[in-house]
Symmetry: C2
Subunit: 292 residues, 2 copies
């Protein structure tokens, strides 16, 4: 008998990966956590049947989530990661010597524990001496943050179940309050083909609070059959501009300064959708770089 | 009962699209030709179980195959399309008033006839008064071309079965001979994740004959779960440079001058694979722009 892991794009479109073996499966208070070995993609962490990371292509997602804002911000010293229990985002943050302190807030302690046991990069990533780990709800955590941040990286699953609050208007308002002047928030924002209403909504919501909102793309094969999107809200610098000298010093497999700039160039039909979404939004309730 | 169309990336990775209905199915002398209606992607032309085009995402592939070389060449007057029986490439060529004559060589007359009947754009595309249609083997046709071309667009299926000869060394040599000085050839060159040996081989083979070889990317959801690649061999102009004024006049949904430039920026791991492939190749046997 052959087992296949099924990822659904929509009711009529799905991707299947053949499973060599199941390494772990448990039910945490929040979700079902599995680790499987996929024949074509290596080890994969799966939450409630949705692939979070695989050994083969995780670097695309984590490099693009981290290095784009980190090389656009002039001096990212304090970073908050919301979610990110698989450790991949921490692994990429470790390449930035400017970062002095990292707070990571993950709702499900078991995701961290399972990742440290089964994902090859996770044990080292969670041993970063700059890291403070919080097991808490990300949205609640942001109501009373321990400090202000230069970057907030929202490394969240899809906006269903426990992840839903991390895509809402209240969350973005709280995030802006928790940022230093000139700070930036980046969030994954879904597939351009199968989640375009979500992508437009994220642009609209961020544009209510942030002076600059820009979407960029990278294809992560195990997330979607089309490009995956990330969206930055910045209260200061233009996220499309890159500190090329810092970018060049990074040991990466996907990201370069040229990839940074090119990732913000959107297909015309996507650019038009987002221009429309943002045009329909009242301009920032709080001007860029200021807060109440 | 539900029917699903299955696309295989490799033996352990596949994509499935739910079929609403089958509109046509026949066995031609060359292949099985089907037209189906997919719930999520609209009408699709399927040859030997591989999706060639769908209503929803064909524009990505055809715009990028046509407009990149056409806006990089200073004055594309004569164009040869090898394959392209679904008419999508012709549809995009119709947007270039500089093009005076188009030859299209398709091995399978039934692909053209079925496309004209079932694909909404095809009847108009094949009615272009500049078009001369040849039902012949593309590789043989190039041995005695009716004229010399500014652009050769290889709109071929995967290099298995009837398409195999369109990816070989002899084909690229004949293509160079059939090009005007400064002419360019572009070919689809497969998935960067699942066909990287093919992509490297195409770069290597083209580099034997063409002074400039460059790969560019676009994600076509029904082709692969990762980005799709296209590779240009140029005997003259740099294909990464774009005539922005001509690009701006095109009514497109995907392509813009900015998309043109950004598409040539490759992820570092892909760029490294191709640099290696080309370094291992003896530099052009015939200097750029010259021929025996």
């Amino acid at each position: 008998m052959q087992a296949w892991l099924v990822e659904r794009e929509d009711a009529a479109t799905r991707v299947q990966f053949r499973v060599r073996r199941v390494l772990h499966r448990e039910r945490s208070p929040y979700q079902t956590i599995s680790v499987v070995e996929l024949e074509s993609m290596g080890r994969a962490l799966v939450l409630d049947d949705a692939i979070q990371v695989t050994e083969r292509d995780a670097f695309v997602y984590h490099e693009m989530l981290v290095h784009v804002p980190a090389c656009a911000h002039p001096r990212p010293r304090r970073v908050l990661v919301v979610g990110g229990g698989d450790g991949g985002t921490l692994l990429e943050l470790a390449r930035h010597p400017e970062v002095e302190r990292i707070d990571l807030v993950e709702i499900d302690r078991r995701v961290v524990e399972v990742s440290r046991r089964f994902l090859p990069w996770a044990e080292a990533a969670f041993s970063d001496p700059r890291l403070t780990l919080h097991y808490a709800d990300g949205a609640r955590f942001l109501e009373r943050p321990p400090s202000r941040f230069d970057l907030i990286l929202v490394d969240a699953p899809d906006p269903v179940g426990p992840g839903e609050a991390l895509f809402g208007d209240a969350f973005y308002e709280a995030a802006l309050r928790a940022l230093q002047p000139g700070g930036m928030l980046v969030t994954q924002s879904g597939s351009i083909w199968f989640q375009s209403p979500l992508l437009a909504a994220i642009n609209r919501r961020l544009a209510r609070w942030f002076g600059r909102v820009h979407t960029y793309l990278a294809s992560v094969p195990t997330y979607s059959i089309g490009p995956w999107s990330f969206t930055v809200g910045s209260s200061g610098p233009d996220p499309r501009a890159v500190d090329a000298a810092r970018a060049r010093r990074l040991a990466t497999r996907y990201y370069t300064a040229e990839v940074h700039r090119a990732a913000f160039v959107l297909p015309r039909f996507v650019q038009q959708q987002l221009d429309e979404a943002i045009r329909a939004t009242p301009r920032p309730l709080r001007a860029a770089g200021t807060r109440a």
